[in-house]
């Protein structure tokens, strides 16, 4: 499968921080699973422009610092700002990713398709804004083309042109999946994200109780994927956790369910499974007292005091 990246999931300061950690993990996941990361030239040019602007800003600051020191009569050795803040070679950074990288240029048909949509405000172009986002429409056209060619593709973008319901029918017609972040792309590829790993630590101690409650987990259940994970912060750690899980259970049967963990006291939690399907068959909801013992992030009162002190002083 080809995984197509829009520029808005790739912003950040590469000169200081390197590539986003999530992109590195996505590269590893794609390499392991045989997927190809596609960087449309539109995306590449946007990222390169963004990085050039950041580098130019950093160099300006370096020059300004040198001038300030000179104004104060402080001698500074000769140096070039471009040596202190070198150019960011986006192409080289991307090449370091574990996955195969494909830089995809739009075809003439892609441009014509995007041009028509922009001019006529056709879907998925927003009908109610003045901007004609050709770049986003070009990426949309490229994504549809690649997905139609391969029978399936994944577009990673948070842009409203790509994520809005206006594009649902067209995306479905070529089996183009869409997610809004690199972490969501990892989830899509069934790679456990930090969120999934955190939820797993809350669920896995309760396999025995779930088995006793009648869930056909078998002796060695395997949590295959965790998706859509959310938490609500409590006084010293998550008070509520939820998500969707997929487990390999008894006799290799797939179990899917929505899960919610409610931490009702410091070391007491309730684990509820709903919309359970075992091997495709619906099963009654299950709720058990969980064995999860919360690992706390620490009392927040000291941090709150520090914030209030700041505001009172001010």
């Amino acid at each position: 499968m080809r995984v197509i990246l829009n520029s808005d999931v790739l912003y950040g300061d590469f000169s200081s921080n390197g590539l986003p950690v999530a992109l590195i993990r996505l590269g590893e996941a794609c390499a392991e699973q045989g997927h190809v990361l596609v960087i449309p030239t539109t995306t590449l040019m946007e990222i390169e422009r963004h990085q050039r602007e950041i580098v130019a800003g950093q160099r300006k600051l370096v020059e300004s610092a040198r001038q300030t020191l000179a104004d104060q009569g402080i001698t500074v050795p000769e140096f070039k700002a471009s040596d202190v803040v070198p150019d960011v070679d986006v192409g080289a950074l991307l090449t370091d990713l574990a996955a195969e990288i494909q830089v995809e240029s739009p075809s003439l048909e892609d441009f014509e398709d995007a041009h028509t949509r922009a001019c006529l405000h056709e879907s998925p172009h927003p009908p109610d804004i003045k901007s004609d986002e050709m770049r986003d429409l070009v990426i949309w056209a490229v994504s549809l083309r690649l997905s139609a060619q391969d029978g399936h593709a994944l577009l990673v973008s948070k842009d409203t042109v790509h994520t809005h319901g206006r594009g649902d029918t067209e995306a479905a017609s070529v089996n183009l999946a869409r997610v809004e972040s690199l972490d969501a792309a990892l989830e899509y590829l069934d790679v456990k994200t930090p969120a999934g790993e955190q939820l797993e630590t809350m669920i896995s101690p309760s396999w025995t109780r779930l088995r006793e409650a009648g869930l056909a987990l078998g002796e060695a259940p395997m949590l295959l994927s965790v998706k859509g994970v959310e938490f609500v912060q409590g006084w010293a750690g998550p008070a509520v956790a939820s998500g969707s899980i997929k487990i390999r259970g008894q006799d290799g049967k797939l179990i899917t369910a929505d899960v919610e963990v409610d931490v009702t006291a410091e070391s007491l939690a309730r684990l509820s499974l709903s919309s359970i399907r075992v091997g495709g068959d619906a099963v009654t909801d299950i709720s058990v007292q969980a064995d999860y013992e919360p690992t706390t992030i620490g009392d927040d009162s000291e941090r709150l005091r520090a914030l209030r002190a700041l505001l009172e002083e001010n």
């Binding site: 912003y11 950041i54 948070k158 912060q233 409590g234 927040d300 505001l311 001010n314």
Partner: protein, 143 residues
Amino acid sequence: MRLKLGGSTFDNVRIPVLWGKRAILQDSSGRLSVVDLGGQTARIEILGDQVARGVRFSPSTDGFMVLTSERQALYTFSPRDRRLTSESLGLPELQIKASQIRVGTNTFQSTMVSGFDVGIVVDEDGSISIGAPLPEGLAALVV
């Protein structure tokens, strides 16, 4: 009161950086807090680099994403990079480094702002103002 943030100095400034409707503050230990002033009352979303109590969130590879109660992604905070990235707020990325404040591709260093409600205002349309009154309709910064 003199506040230091990202290498800049904010003298007699109540909010050093207003990112959309969110006040960005740094405590004496250098930890960042984000307070939403868009409701009737101020609501802490990030307290000292960590998710505040009662806030819905999803951990991400480099931090966590703050969500609405309806589970819409608002923004991602990376404590390591001290970076706020908009998911649905339509705001340029904000990064508070040790010696500079970066808003999108604009950087501020050794900036001095004095005698304003807000030091740096970042608007949804991408515009940036230095030294401004508190925009109308925002809640008081009381936590």
